[in-house]
């Protein structure tokens, strides 16, 4: 037989061998087929003898699913947007004011808890991000500003834009916390509920929850005496006014003064800088004879203690409504502000009590505040220690091996002929290797549900091989190629039909967001396809070589 016809008649087996080879490279060669190993240097990867990636359940970490707190009224003010798309900003502001104002019918919400914006399709959306307001109050407040809305138009949840902003903020927050590999995404249930899902490897559930429950609204408040001598508070900078943030560092101690803790150097935006400078000058912070260096507020238990006797000129850092640090104006900063030069290079240091606070302040400034809080009462949490996850990894490998051994044993017991049984087992295993290679190639993080999928693949795989073997060896000799082909085709009809039902049965799981089961469904469906297209035809070829007289 010449080489070309040999290849021709065995191409199915060769295809399987090629796929297995490909899979082995993808699995075991570091970097493998994916040349751009973007996560190189990640330690957990280097410990791993294969290129497989593992999900939370087998690697350790925390996953948290929670909806966003808030409610929404859509399409409330058709008058605010003209037909050509011009937005009447005054009208929007008016609507927003009714949510924030303190008048009758109005809601008196913090600015962070209310929002009105125009969506891409030109409809106006009002949202409140708190549970303290009822549907009726929300509707009444909007009606008082002549909005076109009734109580029935109010729905739970927030707008797409808000969810997108939240996802972006959380992503920045967990990246800034120095956690690589964390992911944030949105999940929508079939009945239209939206959940924010946060997955972070190597982090406990309480730690993640602390990060997520902090809203992270940062403000700088000037605390100073007015002309009448009473101390007053005025917000002078908000998180939006900060253009860039440097990593936190320990404050340099000034002559004659003990170090006051940590600071986060920030650059104030060009728009906000002149106003801030002017306010500081007017309020007397920069005057060496008045406010400069005159802040002696102490902190107890992490909050600033406002009990004092002398007049105080303090710049107070407020996070989520809580005063966390109070600092005085330093002489050099005061001088540049007095001379109006500061606004040209508006660098400023925000104070914090300790390194941890400074770190979280820096993160909050960088990530911005969470647009709306997450509703932990409706959440789902899964968290597993790395050690325990590692145990699961070993156990599931063991369970997989046990299942394969069992299947091999039964198949051997049934046929008692290694010429039939051995290729069957080897082919079924090849299917798993190809699938594993594929998982490594696309960097699919494997979890327990995927393991169940792999075992299911071995099961369906062997079932189909049994069908092929029985059909082909049925009714006497398989002497000619033609007889073999016709029987093989008959067997394939059943296999195709069975594969179609398995795919149909599992496809809802692959699409619906039903927790951890997606991986199981995806692996099983992929396995069915690889089986029908590659491994089963190859097994047919192997069997033919063994059975026909060639």
């Amino acid at each position: 037989m010449n080489p070309i016809s040999a290849v021709k008649s065995n191409w199915r087996v060769l295809l399987l061998v090629a796929f297995v080879g490909f899979a082995v490279v993808a699995l075991f060669i570091p970097g493998g087929i994916v040349a751009d190993n973007s996560v190189a240097g990640n330690e957990s990867l280097q410990d791993n003898p294969t290129n497989l990636e593992f999900g939370l359940g087998l690697e350790g970490g925390t996953r948290l699913r929670a909806p966003v707190t808030g409610m929404t009224a859509e399409g409330i003010a058709p008058d605010a947007v003209s037909d050509d798309g011009q937005v009447d900003q005054n009208r929007i502001d008016e609507l927003e004011a009714t949510l924030r104002g303190d008048g009758a019918e109005q809601l008196g919400l913090e600015p962070a808890n209310a929002s009105v914006h125009v969506q891409d399709d030109g409809t106006v959306v009002a949202e409140v991000f708190t549970d303290d307001v009822s549907d009726a109050e929300f509707a009444a407040a909007l009606q008082s500003a002549d909005a076109d809305v009734s109580e029935d138009d109010i729905r739970d949840g927030v707008s797409q834009r808000t969810r997108d902003q939240i996802i972006e903020t959380i992503q920045t927050k967990i990246n800034a916390a120095g956690l690589s590999g964390g992911t944030v995404y949105e999940q929508t249930t079939p009945n239209g509920d939206h959940y924010i899902v946060v997955e972070v490897p190597n982090m406990g559930s309480d730690e993640l929850r602390t990060i997520l429950s902090e809203r992270g609204v940062v403000e700088v408040v000037a605390y100073y005496p007015t002309e009448s001598g009473n101390q007053t508070n005025e917000t002078v900078l908000t998180g939006d006014d900060i253009a860039s943030v440097d990593p936190p560092r320990q404050e340099e101690s000034r002559p004659g003064q003990a170090s006051q803790g940590y600071v986060v150097p920030v650059q104030v935006s060009e728009e906000a800088a002149p106003g801030f400078q002017q306010q500081m000058n007017e309020q007397g912070f920069t005057d060496p004879n008045e406010g400069m260096g005159r802040c002696s507020l102490d902190t107890t238990n992490g909050t600033v203690d406002f009990d004092h006797e002398n007049e105080q000129y303090c710049l107070v850092t407020v996070t989520d409504g809580e005063a966390v640090a109070a600092h005085s104006m330093g002489p050099s900063l005061a001088e540049t502000m007095r001379s109006q030069e500061w606004a040209n290079d508006p660098i400023f240091q925000m104070g914090a009590q300790n390194q941890q606070d400074a770190q979280s302040l820096s993160v909050n400034l960088k990530a911005g505040s969470l647009r709306a809080p997450l509703d932990f009462g409706e959440s789902q949490v899964y968290s597993i220690e790395a050690a325990h996850a590692d145990q699961f990894k070993q156990y599931s490998l063991l369970i997989g091996l046990l299942s394969v051994l069992t299947v091999s044993g039964v198949v051997y017991a049934r046929y008692t002929d290694t010429r039939v049984a051995l290729p069957m087992i080897v082919t079924a295993l090849a299917e798993v290797v190809v699938l594993l290679g594929f998982a490594a190639l696309i960097r699919m993080p494997l979890d327990l549900s995927h393991v169940a999928g792999f075992i299911a693949v071995v099961g369906t795989g062997v079932d189909d091989l049994v069908i092929i073997a029985d059909e082909v060896m049925d009714e006497g000799d398989v002497s000619s190629e033609r007889v073999f082909q016709s029987r093989f085709r008959k067997a394939f009809w059943v296999i195709g039909a069975a594969a179609a039902t398995t795919v149909v049965a599992l496809s809802p799981l692959a699409v619906l967001s039903l927790g951890d089961l997606r991986g199981f469904a995806i692996i099983t469906i992929l396995g069915v396809f690889i089986g029908v297209l590659i491994t089963r035809p190859a097994y047919g070829d192997i069997l033919r070589r063994l059975l026909t007289d060639r």
Partner: protein, 305 residues
């Protein structure tokens, strides 16, 4: 029937350790054959509806669907001490895979407080963290999952039925597949109620898998009887030889996986394994009694009318 089935391999005598017995079907009437699986199906439906009337759900709902918290703790404390360590009475405390590991379930969803209680009240086992894993689902989230799971099952079943009708394009053989698949789902569900296995994401996956797996042997049987020439009983025996091998192989594999996973404390794999084992056993009965009697009726009587 003991002729040479093995063609080219005939020189080696066919001596399997397990062989599929040939059942003398002609000794039983169609009614007799169908009575057993139908009676089992009726009992299963009775169990489920009774449970629905008494408990409000046909099967007990697990944490994934009813809400609650599950902790895996590693501690030198005994199971009783673990129960006493929490303000809330645990629903259950069971040993998990590793030494000194326990799975503790609560109806409460305050995972933070449960974690704190575990960490402050339980004795540490060496250097291991006390709380090895924690998973918590709120009742409303579980409610949503319930609807999603039910929808998934219905879509899968309807899709499977549609494929059955597409493949055979005749009413009786197609409906025979659909009825046995339905029974294959209902019997394990009733089994879950009787044994007290709660419905979890894992068992739902098992049930969906069952829709795919169990139909294979039905398709094989229908295919051999309807699309092949030859004697009815000979075709049946051939289909059975292949089909029973398939189902028994899967059953044994699932049993091993279920038991091993149960011993190791991996719930997801244990429930998939057990559900598939029971469902496939039911499938053996449904395929070779119910489906077969319908096919025989169709082939010998139905086709003429």
């Amino acid at each position: 029937m003991e002729k040479a089935y093995f063609g080219g391999l005939q020189e080696k005598r066919y001596m399997a350790y397990f062989d599929v017995p040939e059942i003398e079907y002609n000794r039983y009437s169609n009614r007799q054959l169908a009575a057993v699986p139908l009676a089992v199906l009726a009992v299963a439906l009775l169990v489920l509806s009774g449970s629905f009337l008494v408990y409000g759900t046909p099967v007990p709902l697990g944490m994934d669907f009813a809400g609650g918290t599950e902790l895996t703790v590693q501690t030198t404390a005994s199971a009783d001490e673990i129960s006493a360590a929490f303000d809330q009475q645990p629903e259950s405390v069971t040993g998990a895979g590793g030494e000194n590991q326990y799975i503790v379930q609560f109806a409460s969803t305050d995972s933070q407080s449960l974690r704190e209680q575990a960490e402050s009240n339980l004795a540490q086992d060496g250097d291991s963290a006390i709380v090895q894993s924690i998973s918590s689902t709120s009742a409303s989230f579980g409610q949503g999952s319930q609807q999603t799971a039910l929808m998934g099952l219905v879509i899968a079943f309807v899709g499977m039925s549609a494929i059955a009708f597409l493949l055979f394009r005749t009413f009786v053989p197609s409906i025979a597949i659909v009825i046995s698949a339905f029974s294959d789902l209902v019997i394990p569900l009733a089994f879950m109620r009787l044994v007290g296995i709660p419905l979890s994401l894992g068992t739902v996956a098992g049930l969906l898998m069952l829709i795919g797996y169990s139909v294979d042997s039905d398709i094989l049987l229908n295919n051999h009887i309807l699309r092949r020439s030859g004697d009815f009983y000979e075709s049946t025996y051939r289909a059975m030889r292949t089909g029973v091998t398939m189902t028994v192989t899967s059953m044994v594999a699932m049993l091993v996986m279920g038991i091993a996973a149960f011993l190791f404390g991996i719930d997801l794999l244990a429930s998939i394994g057990i559900i598939l084992f029971v469902g496939l056993a039911a499938d053996l009965m449904n395929t070779y009694m119910l489906n077969l009697s319908l096919l025989r009726w169709y082939k010998f009587e139905g086709i003429r009318s």
